[in-house]
Every structure is written in structure tokens, then in C-alpha cells.
């Protein structure tokens, strides 16, 4: 009897939690008809924001992968003086309030900032340009990729890299044929998290890049700007972001499953892996 009560209670709590998490998402799509939402995609504000968001996110993520992967590998495999300082530095943007990150970027690259005069001399102005959006996104999103990449590299068995070396493969071949395939799942998962964080970026972007339509106005900024003007447009943009987030979450789960059983290539997403 007592056990049945406890089971009942737990079930109810679980249902309430799930409903709380699901309802707002459902509401976005329930508020207007899907046809209406699709119509809003031809709204220039929505279209421009989508283009700015995708363009800046793709460039920022490409930069994060190119610079973050070697950095993560070094931090995962070598211990050197200042190692923990480097790790803290990598994680810092994660805990920094986004608005502070924006101010910090302005202080560094703004006209009156630390490198302002240098950039001025080169004829470059960063703040309130699309480059600024990319920089802001890369700054706040990079820790999610790099942290996951470090974990993935640390999880690869050092005996396997040693085996590769004794089999005649140099460090580069070992990295591309052994380390990278084994860490791939973790890297994909990290990229998915970092992409999601970058798409949702608001605070740092509005401080450092402003909110100019067609130039620096990303989807979250456009949602804020359109909020009291055209509620349907904000709903459409929110719908797009929800769908993107779901796609990224799927990517994350695939990545994590891959990482867990690299030999099985299991594509089970929301259940126990078939290997048990």
C-alpha cells in the first residue's frame, strides 16, 4: 500500500515536470496555424535574421572547430606549467554573464578598446558589424565544444595511440586514423552543444554588435525587436529555433551514442543500446 502510494506520487511528479517542460514548446506551435507560421518566413525581418544567424553561426562554429580541436588535444594529452590556468581560461566564457562578455569584447576590440587603435590603423572596425556577431558567438560558444573535445580526447585509451606508434605510424597518422575516429562522437556532441549555444546568443551580441536588421540582427535579437510589433513573426522565428534545437539535440545524442560504442555504430537514440 505504502509502496503503491510512493509510486503514484513519483509518477505524478514526473508527469508535472515533463508537462512543465513541454507546454511552452507546444504553445509556440499551437498559438497559430502552421500555414500562418510558414507565411511569416517570407517576412523580410524573419528572413534576414535567419540568414544572419545561420551565416554567423556556421563561420563561428568552423572557427571553433579549427582552433578548438588542436587546443583541446594539447590540453588533453600534455601536462605543462599553467595547464590548469589554461583550462580555467577555456571555461571562463561559460560562467561569464553574456552581457559582461559583450562589454569585455568591446573593451578589447572596440574603437576605444585595447586593440582599437591597432585595428583602426589597419582600417578595421569591428563593433556593430557581422564580424562582431561571429566573434561574440565564437567567444561564448567555444567552451562547450572545447570542454567536450578535451573529455573525448582524454577518454581515448593511451595504449591505442602507443600501439599505433609501435606499428610504424607517426603522430599525425596516429591522430587522424586512431584518435580522431575514436573521439568523433564526443566532438560531434560538443559541436551540437556549441551550435545550440551560439544560435541562442543574445547578451554578448547586442552589446558588441548591436541589433541592425540584415547586418547584425540574429534570430534571438529579431525576436526581441519584433516582440511588441508582430507577435506572429516572433512565434515563427521561435518555431525555427525550436526545430533547429531539436535537430541539434538529435545530433548530440547520435554523437554520444557513437562515442560510447565506437565499434557498434549503434544509432539507438532514446533507448538502451542493443549491445546491452
Amino acid at each position: 500500500m505504502k509502496r503503491a502510494l510512493v509510486a503514484c506520487f513519483v509518477t505524478v511528479v514526473c508527469v508535472v515536470t515533463l508537462a512543465f517542460l513541454a507546454l511552452p514548446i507546444v504553445a509556440i506551435f499551437a498559438h497559430t496555424t502552421p500555414g500562418h507560421l510558414i507565411d511569416q518566413l517570407s517576412n523580410p525581418v524573419v528572413r534576414d535574421a535567419l540568414v544572419v544567424s545561420l551565416k554567423t553561426s556556421l563561420i563561428a562554429q568552423a572557427l571553433i572547430v579549427c582552433f578548438g580541436t588542436p587546443t583541446a588535444y594539447l590540453l588533453a594529452t600534455r601536462r605543462f606549467f599553467g595547464h590548469s590556468v589554461a583550462i580555467t581560461l577555456v571555461e571562463l566564457p561559460l560562467v561569464l554573464p553574456p552581457a559582461v562578455a559583450g562589454i569585455a569584447l568591446l573593451a578589447a576590440f572596440g574603437r576605444l578598446g585595447l586593440f582599437g587603435s591597432t585595428l583602426d590603423a589597419l582600417g578595421l572596425t569591428l563593433p556593430f558589424t557581422q564580424t562582431a556577431v561571429t566573434i561574440a558567438v565564437a567567444y561564448v560558444a567555444s567552451p562547450l565544444y572545447i570542454r567536450q573535445a578535451i573529455a573525448a580526447f582524454e577518454a581515448t585509451d593511451p595504449n591505442l595511440t602507443a600501439a599505433s606508434r609501435t606499428l610504424g605510424a607517426g603522430p599525425t597518422r596516429t591522430f587522424f586514423r586512431v584518435v580522431l575516429p575514436l573521439a568523433r562522437g564526443g566532438l560531434i556532441a560538443g559541436l551540437a552543444l556549441s551550435f545550440a549555444r551560439g544560435l541562442g546568443e543574445f547578451g554578448a551580441t547586442i552589446m558588441f554588435a548591436g541589433s541592425l536588421q540584415r547586418v547584425t540582427q540574429t534570430l534571438p535579437l529579431a525576436i526581441y525587436a519584433e516582440f511588441d510589433r508582430n507577435f506572429n513573426a516572433t512565434l515563427a522565428m521561435s518555431g525555427v529555433l525550436v526545430l533547429l534545437s531539436v535537430a541539434l539535440l538529435l545530433g548530440l545524442r547520435i554523437g554520444l551514442t557513437w562515442q560510447r560504442s565506437p565499434s557498434k555504430r549503434s544509432l539507438y537514440l532514446f533507448g538502451p543500446s542493443p549491445s546491452g
Binding site: 606508434r165 609501435t166 606499428l167 575516429p181
Partner: protein, 340 residues
Amino acid sequence: MAALALEEIVVPLRTFTLRLTFAVDSAIALVGPSGAGKTTVLRAIAGLVRPESGRITSNGEVWFDAAMDVSLPPDRRRVGLVFQDYALFPHLSVRQNIEYARHRSADEYLDRFSIRHLERARPSDLSGGERQRVALARALAREPDVLLLDEPLSALDAHTKAGVRAELHDVLRGLGIPVLLVTHDFEDAAALADRVGVIVAGELRQIGAPGDLVAQPSDSFVASFTGANLLNGYGERADGVTRVRLLDGTVVTTADEAQGEVVLAVYPWDITVSTVVPNDSAMNLINAPIRRIAEFGNRIRVTIGPVSAEITEESLRRLGLEVGQSVYASFKATGTRVVA
């Protein structure tokens, strides 16, 4: 000149310093308790650990020389290393694992190690014995000048172990390159190698043929570690026991089942020495002159025919044993074990 030579290799470890000088020209096994620095020796030879000082050469080619500041990276030393956990690449098939080392077809090795039927399998789908064969094939596919094996039998269960040991024994015999293996099990070492070195806390205590180590251990540690007499012979099953005819004609009875070529193990402390024919339950009686009397501490090893017995100093005095004297060594059929 020895094919592989380690000269005054020094590697500082956490609680002691590894100091070694030895040469490998056939098959040598380093045996010692865990944490004795055995794996470090292999890693230093393979180039995965950099010694503080010393010199490592293979066929006269310098792989490491602290004085000359030479240290070839692992991929430039022609060395095959079979890891304790085999370290097969989990994301590659058996064939791809072997071809990783080879850049050519693995066919020859798939056939030689009878693993062709497994070529598409992933390491996670293989049994322990199969993994070992793949790891060995992969290491040899590199066509190494030296083969190193780290605890080659420890990842196997007792049931698989005997079969794999016999298989490995045959493979190592046919290689024609120096083989260095490390293990914590003296019986494995004696079964697989011509010479056995006992290593304790980074120091090589004694190196020699397995029989010599049992007959004449240099100190009590070697004595306790080397353990059993190993007797090679031909076994035949009859009347519920196995009779094993040794190379010198002696017939030994064992309670274990065996047929054909076998190796029997019997511990020195399970062998009784007497000057007259004993009248007891022991089924094995060897009558031969004493070949050697070796002392270490208060224990004595007395070698009689093919076996060495361990007795106390007091028994030695009481019986008045001397080299050349004809005595009886007896041990029970249940005190022997078939190990290969």
C-alpha cells in the same frame, strides 16, 4: 653480437629505480611480481618511455643512447609490441587492424594465424584467445626485428590459457627474431622462453635456463618465485592415472589427465629426500646420485636426477647428504600438475 642489447638502462619509477643490463638473442622471459618494472622495460625498448641513461641497440642499430642524445621515436624502431590488453583498434576490423601495420594485404597473416574467418569482425566480438592471435599477427605484420610481449596470457581464463600457451610456444619457436616477454607467472615464462630472468624492484636478480633457476636460485626471493620443477615428457593414460616418460627415461605418475607431449610441474618443497627406499604412499620414486647442493638462507636445494628438492639445513645435516651420493627423491602423484 646479441640482436637486442640493453646497456645500463636507468628509468626512475615511483618507488624504485629500474636498472638493467641484458641481451636478448633468442626467447627470454622476465618474470617478477607486479610492480617490478617489467612493463616499463618493454616500453623503454619500444620507445614509449625514455630512460634517464643507458643505451639500447638492435642488430647494432642504436635505438637509444643517452650519452649521444639519440632516441628514435617508436615508429622508427622495428619493434613489435603485444600489449597486455592487446590494444586492438576498436573501430577497425581484424583485417584493418593487421593492415594498419602493413600498408599491404593482411592475407598472409590471416592464414598463418588461422583468423581468416574473423577478418571482418570487430575486436569487441572476439574471444580472448582470438584477440591474442590478432594482436600477435598485427605486431608481426610490421615485420619487426624484435618481438615484445606484455603478460601475453594474463587476459585469458584458465581454461583457454593452456591451449593458447601451447600455440604461442610454437609461434615463438618459429620466428627467428629475439623475443622478450614479461609475466608474473614462472610456469608461463618457463614454458615460453629458453631463458628466464627474475626481476624484483627494477633489478635483475638472476637470469638463466628455467631448470637452473629452480636448481640453483641465487637468493630466497628467486627460490620462492621460481617455484616448480618443470619436467618435459610423453604422457600416456592408464588405470586412471597418467604415466609420463621423461627424456632421461624416468617415468613419473600424475593424477592429472594428459596425452602426448606434456610438461609436468612439481614443487621442490613437495619432494622428500631419503637415503633408504621410503615406504609411504608416494607413487613417484627417483633413485639417482645428487648432482648439486645449493644453499640460500636456511633452505637447501638438492638436485637429484631431473628434479630439485627443497629441504632444511637441519635435514641436510641429519641425512649427511653429499654431491654424488645415491639417494631417493619421492613425491605424490597428486603433487604434480600438467601445465602444458
